[in-house]
Amino acid sequence: MNSNANLRKIRKTVGPTGDSIKLNLMRALVYVFLVLIAVFCLFPFVILIINSTRLHSELLSKFYLVPGSHFFQNLKNVLTDTNIPLLNGLRNSVFIAALTAILTTYFSAMTAFGIFMYDFKLRNFAFSFIMFILMVPTQVSALGFLRLVDKMHMMNTYWPLILPSIAAPSVFFYMKQYMDSVVPKEMVEAARVDGSNEFMTFNRIVLPVIKPALAVQGIFSFVSSWNNYFIPVLVINSKNKKTIPILIAELRSADYMKFDLAKIYIMIFVAIIPLIVVYLFLSRFILENLTLGSVKG
């Protein structure tokens, strides 16, 4: 911060008035741009909120710019519908997404550290191999995956949704990139001198240093697991184990002949609240650590 202040001082002495006018103009333009983008991004949310407060019949007839008064009525309709175990679904989704986020970030960091730190025989092979599989679309193996899950008697359990997240090539790639630029190997070597076991070093010394990367990937994987529909819908059968995306899709088409738009908007509304909470919580953490994380630079 100090250096920035100095820099500004230097610039001021160079060209005082013209520059600051230009800067202010620039700032104004940037604000307009940002506000436009924000409006663009918030638009779906605003519609979502407004529409979740309107009745199905109102939604069919015209476009509203202000919320109506039926939010709680709609919410009640969803909560009392025994075909849609919404609260159950929320709990299931939180459970799966949280575990997935933890496993993905931890084990990807672990794998990245193994490749980053140690010069073992198969290291190059392992790295190229992971880079290679990074490019394989998951859907390509979906068909074999389901047969396998069935053979292992894991159908209708959460295992096939959670366990595979341990092997996440793209998260690994990010962690590896991050370690390359942030983790000094001397740090690990110093720990060795102090007699620390390698696994302990990883947990106690390396993990704290890469916290920002963990946070960023944590939230990304939480979100993608939360939103995952393709595999869960094929694996989960029982009503009480279903996750939010399955419930939303079902609400839309199970009763597609007489579906209630207001209910759908309410469901989406309820489904994104936990994400926003998690995001707001983690985003502060990310931004706080972004500057601290750049130890090496």
């Binding site: 620039m26 700032r27 794998t111 490749i115 730190m117 140690y118 394989v136 679309p137 960023v216 750049s294």
Partner: protein
Amino acid sequence: MKQGNLIRRKSVSYAKWGYFFIAPFFVIYIVFQLIPLISTFYNSFFETYRVGLKQIGPNFVGLENYKTVLTGGNLPKYTANTFILWIMGFIPQMLFAVILSLIFTSSRLNLKGKQFFKTVMYMPNLIMASAFSMLFFALFSDGGPVNNMMLQFGWIDEPIRYFAYTGTTRGLIATMNTMMWFGNTTILLMAGIMGIDSSLFEASRIDGASTWQIFWKVTIPLIAPIMAYVLVTSLIGGIQMFDVPQILTNAEGRPDRTSTTLIMYLNNHLFSKNYGLGGAVSVFIFFITLIPSIIVYKFTMRGYGKKGGRR
């Protein structure tokens, strides 16, 4: 080589730890991905599908499935669809992300309310693709809010039928992809820019470099690895595009199958339990992914590779 030897000597007693750290990844990968992948590839040489509840095959047919997929004539079309949809979304996504990450990290602009804007920008990524597509479908349907609004304001006389035309359908898919991913990319690029030692900027400024020069000569090369990461993952994500067009077009890839992506095509075969043809399509998708990925990777990692090799 010399450097390698040096490291090996230094950490000889620790090298084995590498296996310990990468073991969980590989065990899980082999069980849950590799075995299914191989079985998928294996299936591509068989005629195996279901008619009703009757299983036909598996009968070994050699390369017959590949011939069918190729001579069926539609694979190039779906490949083109997929890339068009990806590029239409990716260019604005990258453009927005670069501009925004520069704005947010600029100490000169010193903006207020950055936290708010950043929070807002990432929000579209939080809605699930399926729910987001449903929302868009509702918003842009013939009698939806967007048409109603434009009619009410008198901008149009008749509803615009967005999902009846190729351009508007593709445009909506691309818009959604851009909206969902530019916030994410911005965060990644910011992390990269903020990781750059600020003294580098100062030094170049004092040397008289313009903002433009600093951008091209300092910022871009230093965030190249992150940009490569974004490009590669986005390309792979693009090839895997499924949820958005699938739900927006009600699984039909309409109009005229111009928004049918590769994975939607694959999904059509998976749904009819046609593991043979599905397997062949999978193998094609695999190679289609491989080629651009390798090119992009090699190209953008050139500068980065040197840095990485020094370890």
